[in-house]
């Protein structure tokens, strides 16, 4: 079986992290985002993953060669010379996707959840039509495009963009499974799958909705990245509690790479991920943060709702909060206060940032 992952371009929404690392390789809960998806696909029987990328990165290509070996699958990169939207990449990869007559998965690379690929395949085979999209429930449907479908069977009736009166609280979760015949609907030009393809499929009774159980988050920007991390760790708590740290100094769900080192009198958590080789010195307080590989939190610092970039250093008695994001190799001098700072890579910060802003 095959899967196509819509990776897209520069990942500008996740800057400054994506200035150093291609978005699919940014670690989410200590594993590159893309691998969360690829590994789940492999488990569901996928043996060929196509990455639809709009900008080629040697780093990504090299990493995919390694993962091919590790997972024993084929990973292709399908490169769009011009942006093709969310449907065009399927046309571009047509030959790769229909060399057998099996259904294939399509997913948005920013999505994190307990991937239900087995169930999708089952559901899709059961209804026997061209496409299945996964939907997830939201609290404020008026912010999104919602999907209206039959409660029995899941046949989609229509899509409503930002509904002003309540029609549904289910939105497109960015995960699909299609029969190869669906590809005839798509031409090689910039096309939106949500706006131009799905409504037609729904009208023809070819599109079904499967409801997602459990959490779901689009982690394309830092604020949602942190929210998604909290959800993912909670899911770990339920399904694989052994992977979380417990004991004195840990509060709630905390995920720590075995190579990270933590000093004395720290208080870590809830909702903290510490990456490989991270050093947390004595007396540090961290909650709701992702600390990426090789970063150092110096003594008595206090962090809440931050992403600390690779090999960055947070000085002693620094306070960082309110979705402060440090790019790669940033140095925050001792005793500073960063409130919602977005710091580009390789910067040395010498003054406090009292109000949210970008530090070039």
């Amino acid at each position: 079986m095959k899967a196509l992952i819509l990776v897209g371009g520069y990942g500008t929404r996740l800057r400054p992290l994506t200035l150093s690392v291609p978005k699919p390789l940014v670690e989410f809960c200590n594993k590159p985002t893309l691998l969360h998806q690829v590994e789940a696909l492999v488990q569901a029987g996928v043996d060929h993953v196509v990455l639809a990328v709009s900008y080629m990165s040697d780093v990504l290509e090299k990493e995919m060669r390694i993962q091919e070996q590790r997972l024993g699958i084929r990973i292709s990169l399908s490169h769009e010379k011009e942006p093709l939207g969310t449907a065009g990449p399927l046309a571009l990869a047509r030959d790769l996707l229909c060399d057998d007559n099996e259904p294939f998965f399509v997913l948005n690379s920013d999505v994190i959840c307990d991937f239900p690929f087995q169930e999708m395949l089952q559901f899709h085979r059961n209804h026997g039509n061209q496409g299945t999209i996964v939907v997830t429930r939201v609290e404020e449907p008026s912010k999104y495009g919602v999907v209206v479908f039959e409660a029995e069977g899941g046949r989609i009736q229509r899509f409503v963009e930002k509904p002003q009166v309540f029609v549904s609280n289910k939105i497109n979760a960015g995960m699909y499974i299609f029969n190869p015949s669906m590809l005839q609907r798509i031409q090689l030009r910039p096309t939106s799958i949500e706006k131009e393809i799905f409504p037609v499929m729904a009208e023809e009774g070819q599109l079904y909705a499967m409801e997602l159980q459990g959490f779901w988050m689009d982690i394309g920007q830092p604020k949602d990245f942190l929210t998604g991390m909290c959800m993912y760790l909670q899911s770990l708590r339920q399904h694989a509690p052994d992977r979380l740290c417990t004991g004195p100094g840990f509060l709630g769900n905390v995920l720590v790479d075995p190579s990270a080192r933590i000093g004395e009198n720290c208080s870590i958590g809830p909702n903290v991920t510490l990456g490989a080789g991270v050093v947390v010195e004595d007396g540090v307080r961290v909650r709701r943060c992702t600390v990426l590989k090789g970063a150092r939190l110096r003594s008595h610092s206090w962090l809440d709702s931050c992403i600390v970039g690779w090999n960055s250093s947070v000085g002693q008695w620094v306070r960082m909060e309110n979705v402060t994001v440090l790019g790669e190799d940033v140095i925050v001098n001792d005793e500073l206060y960063l409130n919602g700072a977005n710091v580009l890579p390789h910067k040395s910060i010498t003054d406090s940032v009292a109000e949210p802003r970008i530090i070039m």
């Binding site: 009198n265 208080s267 008695w317 005793e335």
Partner: protein, 422 residues
């Protein structure tokens, strides 16, 4: 023989020092670990032939003041008395009212100084200058140089550059007059009372011409600056001794931190025993720090520069304090960070809390810059200034209190920024 008079004002003054002046008379607020006034008294007590120090003000006699007078007399072996005005008589009026007390024993000269200044107090230099200049009955003002803009906030002195005679004196002019400003420290001879008497009698005549309100005649305040110096300028009676040593007003609470720094640096010469040093088993000291011996400080704390720790203060593990005054009985819990703050008596700061202010130091690139007499609000927004916690304030763990003033006896339950918390 010599005497000294320190004008300490009264409770209606010093409102810019709130909320700290609610708890203690401003002249007794600790600067570099000792009451503001003690720096004046130490300087006076060192002058040979100094027989008596008189404090003039309109505070009701109170326990703190009485205790301070008692311990200072013991420590400095000199008579110190408090003379209470029945009303705010002005800087000149208070002196005049108590002229008999000042003149008793026949001093040849006496110093007069405002309590709310911090200075190296070059008193012997002023005496020497007095001997060299003018006739023996002349008066000396201590002057220093300000920048042109800030000079407008002070009494401005125009001098004869050869003789140092004061040719012109104007208090807080609206346009630039001179960059030599009045430091609020004077050397007077008994002749000053003739000049004040002239003003006093004129005032009395003016008052008699008025209808008494409710059967009382008002007391006319006599101000040394506007009423006396302005008149004496250009008469060959008034001289200015210009100093290059440090000097600052202490009007706002923010200036107390600046004044503390000046005095702490001065302690290297005057009181090295008051400066904390790095010792086995003690906290890490960075720069000038005063720690009262009764304070209990964890060895992993890092203090300084410019930190003063009062009696019975408790400082936990991994605490950082810089540019701050911690008043007696306060507790700073583990890992908290206190920068540019005054932490009030018996206040508590929780673990990992950050209490931070914005320093109001003079521009360091201008040698003549003074601390700005900042206004609390600018464009209806609170001006970022040092953070002040009043007495018995509780700051919970892990919050940030930034550029805020917390009035006494408040238990906060969240973070605050740029606010006055009533």
């Amino acid at each position: 023989m010599l005497k000294a008079v320190i004008l300490i004002g009264g409770p209606q003054k010093g409102t810019r020092f709130r909320p700290l002046s609610f708890e203690v008379p401003k002249p007794l607020f600790p600067v570099a670990g000792v009451p503001m006034l003690q720096h004046h008294i130490e300087a006076c007590a060192k002058v040979p032939n100094m027989k008596e120090i008189l404090l003039i003000g309109f505070y009701q006699p109170n326990e703190e003041l009485t205790r301070f007078l008692f311990t200072s007399q013991q420590e400095f072996k000199i008579t110190i008395r408090y003379l209470q005005e029945y009303a705010a008589l002005g800087t000149g009026g208070g002196l005049y009212h108590f002229r008999d007390q000042i003149l008793s024993g026949g001093p040849q000269a006496f110093f007069v100084m405002n309590a709310d200044v911090c200075s190296e107090f070059p008193l012997p230099e002023m005496l020497a200058f007095h001997k060299e200049h003018g006739d023996p009955s002349s008066l000396v003002i201590l002057g220093t140089t300000a920048n042109r803009k800030q000079s407008l906030n002070y009494g401005c002195i125009v001098e004869n550059e050869e003789t140092n005679e004061v040719l012109h004196y104007v208090e807080k002019p609206s346009t630039f007059v001179s960059d030599i400003i009045n430091c609020g420290i004077y050397l007077f001879t008994p002749d000053i009372f003739q000049h004040i008497a002239g003003v006093f009698q004129k005032n009395q005549q003016d008052i008699l011409l008025e209808e008494p309100a409710n059967g009382w005649h008002r007391a006319a305040a006599i101000r040394l600056e506007q009423d006396i110096f302005t008149a004496l300028a250009g008469q060959g009676k008034l001289y200015v001794y210009k100093t290059l040593s440090f000097w600052s007003q202490i009007k706002s609470a923010g200036s107390a931190i600046y004044a503390s720094r000046l005095y702490l640096n001065r302690y290297h010469i005057t009181h090295p025993e008051r400066l904390a040093c790095n010792q086995e088993g003690g906290p890490k000291i960075s720069g000038t720090v005063y720690i009262h011996p009764t304070a209990n400080i964890d060895p992993s704390a890092v203090l300084g520069p410019n930190v003063s720790i009062g009696t019975g203060v408790t400082i936990g593990a991994g605490v950082r304090v810089r540019e701050s005054i911690i008043l007696h009985g306060a507790t700073l819990q583990d890992h908290c960070c206190v920068l540019n703050c005054i932490v009030g008596w018996d206040s508590t700061i929780g673990k990992w809390a950050r209490v931070e202010g914005t320093p109001s130091d003079p521009n360091p690139n201008d040698p003549y810059a003074k601390i700005d007499s900042e206004t609390l609000f600018r464009d209806s927004k609170l001006t970022p200034s040092i953070t002040i916690l009043g007495c018995n304030v509780t700051i919970p763990s892990e919050v940030i209190i930034l550029n805020s003033i917390v009035l006494p006896h408040k238990d906060l339950n969240r973070s605050f920024k740029n606010q006055i918390i009533l």
